[in-house]
């Protein structure tokens, strides 16, 4: 089976899942009686509708080609960084560094993927950007809260640009007898991370009793994490045929994606709440903002990338 055939099979599976989800949502909205239940079902249905749109956008980008996929992730970083900076208290003195982050950093980071320059891609943000941006901020001469402001901007860039860019960077890897199929690895990463979120949400709503971190993230429960995480890891294992991994390796990789995704959701939820918000934004109906949807991917992507690179890539 070539990459396109695998892609069609996975898409068919996802469409079937979405259809089932939409039907379930429709049935639930007829059956629900209580006011609180109605709110939950309404949110569930807008989440499902948003999934249709997100999957359509991703499928089109994936289908058109690698460049479009890279551009799609660049746009994702742009909107995620916009959400992060909107909630972060910055000052007039940060104007230039922020301008550079949006209009120089993001394009350069993704162009490096497009040109396949891995060495600079890996150090461009942690070395060059993290040294130069605070220096530019210092030039503006405002020392009030300088460390806090700089640290917050660096965190924002780290999560929304550096981490997220590791998903399309999977295209750079040169894996034996997997040439020309790397885009499927991006798909695999997103599939496992997002399924894990969805299944944890569903298991949490159905069986959730014991809260893991009630203050940081009230919706995360032990039952949800175990049930949803196991489910997503098993599905990830069963999807080994779209990856360069053996079934057992795929199970290991998907478990890591699930675990990192969970930690990402937890840590970014803490960041979000320390900035005084419940959602990152309102861009994706029912889900909140862009960052609410990709928080798990941002933590899972760099680890998945490096494990695959270390153990499977020839360069």
């Amino acid at each position: 089976m070539n990459a396109h055939q695998k892609f069609y099979w996975v898409m068919a599976g996802i469409l079937a899942l979405l259809l089932i989800a939409s039907l379930t949502g429709a049935v639930l909205s007829y059956q629900v009686r209580t006011e609180a239940g109605r709110a939950v079902v309404q949110n569930l249905n807008s989440r499902i509708r948003a999934w249709w749109v997100m999957i359509a956008v991703f499928a089109v980008a994936f289908f058109v080609g690698k460049d479009t996929t890279v551009v799609l992730f660049a746009a994702t970083s742009f909107f995620a960084l916009r959400e992060f900076i909107t909630l972060t208290p910055t000052k007039r003195a940060d104007h230039l560094p922020l301008f550079l982050s949006f209009f120089v950093l993001i394009p350069v980071q993704y162009l490096l993927i497009g040109y396949g320059w891995y060495g600079l891609f890996a150090v461009f943000i942690p070395v060059y950007a993290f040294l130069l941006l605070p220096a530019f901020a210092a030039l503006a001469g405002d020392t009030d809260g300088f460390l806090e402001r700089t640290a917050k901007i660096q965190w924002a860039i780290m999560i929304t640009v550096y981490c997220v860019s590791h998903a399309p960077a999977l295209l750079l890897l040169n894996i034996e007898s997997y040439q020309g199929q790397n885009a499927l690895l991006i798909f695999y990463l997103l599939l496992v991370a997002q399924l894990s979120d969805v299944l944890q949400y569903v298991c949490g709503k159905l069986f959730g009793r014991t809260k893991i971190a009630p203050i940081v993230s009230p919706s995360k429960t032990v039952e949800g994490f175990v049930g949803g995480g196991l489910g997503a890891a098993l599905i990830g294992g069963a999807m080994w045929w779209i990856t360069p991994f053996t079934p057992l390796q795929a199970l290991g990789m998907s478990s890591i994606i699930v675990l990192m995704g969970f930690l990402g959701g937890l840590a970014l939820s803490a960041v979000k709440r320390s900035l005084g918000a419940k959602d990152w934004g309102s861009m994706i109906e029912g889900h909140g903002g862009m960052l609410d949807r990709i928080d798990s991917v941002s933590f899972a992507a760099p680890i998945f990338f490096h494990l695959t690179r270390y153990f499977f890539s020839m360069t």
Partner: protein, 200 residues
């Protein structure tokens, strides 16, 4: 709407969101004066982009002639795309009633977007209002006076910077300010200002 205007609105939405929040009124076709806090050159565009297209066509922003009439690009933006009403700020340049272009536009049935502070401030909250709004309120007794608060725009493009950074800006539309019979100018202007501040 011409394609350049659609492009302009598209760019504004991609950069700063310009999401409307109709908190005290609905986006209705009634003739209105929208008055807002003024912190940035993109304020006008932000409010204009937040309006639904149908209302946009009937709404004209009021802009300072000394800024927007300089240079081909600004003039193109202000006159061709925004259909702006340009007014003279400097006392020396004025002949006759400075509010005349505004009254003309209102008589033609247009709604207006105005910034009663007259100039951009550096703080998020508005400073004292100039008296133009009071005179318009007296002359046009049926036009609704809608307070508008621009959130985050002063961070996106503060006074003294030349390019905006992408931040999600929200445009809050409040409930119409009611007219009170025989109210003094100072009292009305302060009440109007408080209506904007209350949305913050």
């Amino acid at each position: 709407m011409n394609p350049a205007s659609s492009l302009l609105v598209g760019v504004m939405k991609a950069l700063v969101g310009a999401y409307p929040r109709w908190q005290g009124c609905e986006p209705a076709a009634a003739q209105r004066i929208y008055f807002a806090n003024h912190t940035s050159h993109i304020d006008t565009l932000a409010i204009w982009s937040a309006l639904p297209p149908a209302l946009r066509a009937r709404t004209r922003p009021v802009a300072a002639k000394d800024y927007w009439d300089k240079g081909a690009l600004r003039r193109y933006l202000a006159i061709r795309n925004l259909n702006a009403v340009l007014i003279e700020r400097a006392r020396e340049g004025r002949q006759g009633d400075p509010l005349q272009p505004l009254t003309d536009a209102l008589q033609q049935g247009y709604s207006l977007i105005i910034f009663p502070e007259g100039t951009r401030g550096t703080e998020a909250l508005p400073g004292a209002f100039k008296s133009g709004l009071f005179h318009l309120m007296q002359r046009f007794s049926t036009v609704e006076l809608i307070p508008v608060y621009l959130e985050n725009v002063h961070r996106a493009m503060p006074k003294g910077t030349f390019f905006p950074i992408p931040l999600i800006c929200t445009i809050r539309f409040g409930a119409p300010v009611q007219r009170v019979a025989d109210e003094s100018k100072e009292s009305f202007l302060e009440r109007a200002r408080s209506a904007v501040v209350a949305l913050a």
